[in-house]
């Protein structure tokens, strides 16, 4: 009995110590946010292609240029202050002065040259997709570099603002390089060496990432340093648990919640819900238009008319969405907002088109989706199943993981796929268009239509090679209109990311492409 009592006293003491330890916060302003999944790595070169990782990378690193998401998504200076080119082959770029990396290495032309040269030789570097044309670099002075590409890349600066083109300290890479790993790729998986607004304090993958304010931050696009001292980013996969934690006050902010949860949270005292416009999250239905029954234009059009978009937006997305107008989403270069009205809900027209098609008696088809891709997809699938039953299409709903879905879409003849497409950056409408509509690039199943069209095949590379934004936008519109005429997809919604937070949180923003901006957040 005595041993039992001693054990109880020790246990109570230990628990008390843990509670007291938890109270030792000082005057720091700490923001606790929760997200459904963590990035697999902190290495911007290899991992930032995934949304989870790019969220982490954007806290720690900066890019050469940024986009002005407040205005027109045009490219604005980042770690570069200016650039000149006449032929889009030879570029002279000017490096921002007075910036240092988190390890105190100065940011200058030499550091830029190191990064560009590294991207050019690493097979993992996603930048290589664009800089297949990467050629030579030459330092002109401490803050000026000349880049000589092998071919003209008019959209070079648009591409350079993506998270995987984050700039890394050359000193850190050299210090941690090994014979087998000359660019310290393994070290960068768990460490950082950026110039971003926050410094990595600790990272337990799949559990939490703690970053603290970088006191010497140069200010970024908005020329300001963070207003919070520390950010704790928890990984909480279950949406219901994140909601509970928010209600209990254990976290300050979270997203990726289902509509039901959002509706409940909107009613709660002390919690506010905010939706953010201007992101490129698009929901669509994919199908292989070269395989039956979707090789029949009337079937594709009938489905486009059979879906009640307004009902989906009102009932499922609670108004935090709008009808998708096309591949460059509304607000982006080359978007055609008027195309949102190209297909509207018209059941009679849908029925008529079906009866005129080769499949007048209807057919049975699979609709696959990855439930983790979007919290409301289950409802989307059920609503679509119900709408299509009206035009004699029996939809079998199948849940798959995204990698399987994209593989099946890549193979073709897969039925229908419900996809959430978030694009990769705001300035890259070019990619949105060419991935979805053109066949000259592999997309590993992200271009599900298998559509080839002579006009589009010519326009896409032309658009990519056109530096003039107005002309380029016109080409995108032309391509998008052509895709609508042929009902290449069903363009359902453009989503507004919704975040729920304690009502003392102000100045939080979610910016394209679905990134959380923490550096102006305040806790009142």
């Amino acid at each position: 009995m005595k041993i039992g009592k001693v054990c109880l006293v020790v246990l109570a003491g230990v628990l008390l110590a843990s509670l007291l330890g938890g109270l030792a916060l000082g005057d720091e302003i700490v923001l606790v946010a929760a997200r459904p999944k963590d990035g697999e790595s902190l290495n911007p070169i290899t991992a930032a292609v995934s949304l989870g990782a790019s969220r982490s990378v954007n806290l720690l690193y900066n890019q050469l240029v940024n986009v002005d998401s407040e205005k027109d998504f045009n490219v604005v200076p980042g770690l570069l202050t200016a650039w000149e080119t006449e032929d889009y082959i030879t570029w002279t770029v000017h490096v921002r002065e007075g910036v240092t990396f988190h390890d105190d290495t100065p940011w200058n032309a030499e550091a830029l040259k190191f990064n560009l040269d590294m991207w050019a030789v690493l097979p993992e570097a996603t930048f290589m997709v664009y800089a297949g044309a990467a050629g030579t670099t030459e330092i002109l002075d401490e803050y000026t570099l000349k880049i000589e590409l092998k071919e003209a890349v008019p959209l070079l600066m648009d591409f350079l603002q993506t998270a995987w083109c984050s700039i890394i300290s050359p000193t850190a890479i050299k210090d941690h390089a090994t014979a087998d790993d000359p660019y310290a790729m393994e070290w960068l998986n768990d460490h950082e060496a950026g110039t971003g607004p926050f410094i990595l304090e600790s990272w337990e993958p799949g559990e939490r990432m703690v970053v603290r304010k970088w006191e010497n931050y140069w200010g970024g696009v908005i020329k300001k340093t963070p207003k919070i001292d520390r950010l704790i980013y928890l990984t909480v996969p279950d949406a219901a648990v994140r909601m509970m934690m928010l209600e209990k006050g254990d976290i300050d902010l979270t997203g990726d919640l289902s509509s039901e949860m959002i509706a409940d949270l909107e009613e709660m005292e002390g919690i506010k819900v905010e939706g953010y416009s201007g992101t490129s999250r698009r929901t669509m239905i994919f199908w292989d238009i070269t395989a039956p029954p979707f090789d029949d234009l009337r079937v594709r059009q009938a489905i486009n008319y059979a879906i009640n978009y307004d009902e989906i937006i009102d009932r499922i997305d609670l108004g935090y969405a709008e009808k998708l107008c096309g591949m460059p989403a509304k607000g982006y270069l080359g978007a055609s907002p008027e195309l949102a009205g190209y297909y509207t809900y018209d059941l009679e027209k849908a029925k008529q088109l079906m009866s005129e098609s080769k499949y007048a008696d209807g057919f049975e088809v699979d609709l696959m989706y990855d439930p983790e891709r979007y919290a409301n997809y289950e409802d989307y699938a059920l609503y679509i199943q119900s709408y299509l039953s009206e035009i004699r299409i029996k939809v079998n709903i199948k849940q798959v993981v995204l990698s399987t879905q994209t593989a099946m879409q890549d193979e073709g003849d897969y039925g229908m796929g419900l996809m959430l497409y978030s694009g990769d950056s705001v300035a890259m409408s070019a990619d949105a268009v060419r991935w979805q509509y053109c066949s000259h690039l592999p997309t590993w199943g992200w271009r599900g239509s298998h559509w080839t069209d002579d006009t589009t095949e010519v326009l896409c590379p032309q658009a990519l090679a056109t530096a003039d934004r107005i002309k380029r936008a016109q080409m995108y519109r032309e391509i998008d209109l052509r895709a609508h005429e042929l009902a290449v997809y069903v363009w359902i919604t453009q989503l507004k990311p919704i975040f729920a937070m304690q009502d003392n949180i102000v100045n939080f923003r979610s910016c394209p492409p679905y990134q959380e901006w923490f550096w102006q957040v305040e806790k009142k």
């Binding site: 628990l15 843990s18 030792a24 991992a47 097979p123 648990v241 990698s403 590993w444 992200w446």
Partner: protein, 335 residues
């Protein structure tokens, strides 16, 4: 005895080979390209091919399998295309979190199950027995995700007794890594704040995982004990005036333990396998979630690594259980 153990260890080899062959084959039947998945939609064919070549994923499947077996024999479980880290280093990181959770769950299940089962048997048809029997049935019938949600709702949301969403307090640094188990590492480093926090954080998921094995152990203990309590030597002990507590704990329980040890071994395997749900619900960064992520990204080598480690642990636990029979029941001999 040593010969028996060696023979059992030897049999691990064909079992592992069979298991890896099945998992390897199944992994490659699933449509998809892990390298393209990892590189994302932007990847060029050349980039994908370059990496496939570098990671030797273009070789015929039998060659890839043989190479995997060869490197597995050297303790190398391959490379994760998704995390870009050696699988062994990933598993070392995540497995210990699961091991800690499963072990605490097993302790709760064993202690709780044996105590409840013993009380229920000793007070047969009493009030406690009537309470324990339906409760154990409830525990066995409830799926892990449902129990997890109930625990969250009651102990976290309503009563505020347990924290969730992490392995240690928000503002407490994890203990210096020695084993990777926060409780053990805190004890070894004398970090009492971290120890308290780690225990506090493991309670919720451990209870969730422990409920089913606890119920099974309780039922098994009860039925075994009732059988033993009917034996003649128990009647003799009672006739000699030995108190009921001594009769149950000293004379009856030890003899009733043998099947319970077997059940416990099986339950440990169950705990490791079913930890995925608890890890997702309680945001516990364990190997179950790691395997789930690997499956989602068609990352075959971590899936294989996970299967190998789990199989090894399961076989090891069963071996320990079998060997422990000798010590629990002197009549057992391995000949």
């Amino acid at each position: 005895m040593i010969f028996y153990i060696l023979r059992r260890v030897f049999w691990v080899i064909p079992m592992l080979l069979g298991m890896t062959l099945i998992v390897f084959t199944l992994s490659h039947i699933v449509p998809g390209d892990p390298v393209a998945t990892a590189l994302g939609p932007l990847a060029t064919k050349a980039a994908v091919e370059r990496l496939k070549e570098a990671w030797r994923l273009n070789d015929p499947l039998p060659i890839q399998y043989l190479r995997y077996v060869k490197q597995m024999a050297k303790g190398d479980l391959g490379f994760s295309v998704y995390t870009r880290r050696p699988v062994m280093s990933d598993i070392r990181k995540y497995f210990m979190a699961t091991f800690e959770l499963s072990t605490v769950s097993l302790l709760i299940a064993m202690v709780g199950g044996i105590v409840l089962g013993a009380i229920s048997a000793a007070r047969k048809n009493g009030i406690l027995d009537f309470m324990v029997r339906p409760l154990s049935l409830f525990g066995m019938s409830m799926p892990v995700f449902w129990v997890g949600l109930l625990i969250l709702l009651l102990f976290y949301y309503r009563l505020g007794l347990i924290p969730i969403g992490r392995r240690i307090g928000l503002f407490i640094d994890p203990p210096t890594r020695i084993t990777g188990m926060y409780i053990v590492d805190s004890l070894l480093t004398g970090n009492w704040t971290a120890l308290g926090s780690a225990i506090h954080h493991v309670i919720g998921p451990a209870l969730c995982l422990a409920l089913c094995p606890l119920a099974i152990i309780a039922r098994q203990t009860r039925s075994n004990l009732l059988e033993v309590l009917d034996e003649d030597y128990i009647g003799t002990a009672r006739a000699k005036g030995v108190s009921e507590v001594i009769v149950v704990l000293k004379h009856a329980l030890r003899n009733a333990l043998l099947p319970i040890v077997t059940i416990t071994g099986i339950q440990y395997g169950y705990l490791l396998g079913s930890s995925v749900m608890a890890e997702v619900i309680f945001s516990w960064p364990g190997i179950g979630r790691y395997a789930l992520t690997a499956i989602r990204h068609l990352d075959f080598q971590p899936v294989l690594g996970f299967s190998v480690v789990m199989a090894l642990v399961y076989m090891l636990v069963n071996l320990i259980v079998d060997v422990s029979y000798v010590y629990i029941n002197p009549k057992v001999r391995f000949s």
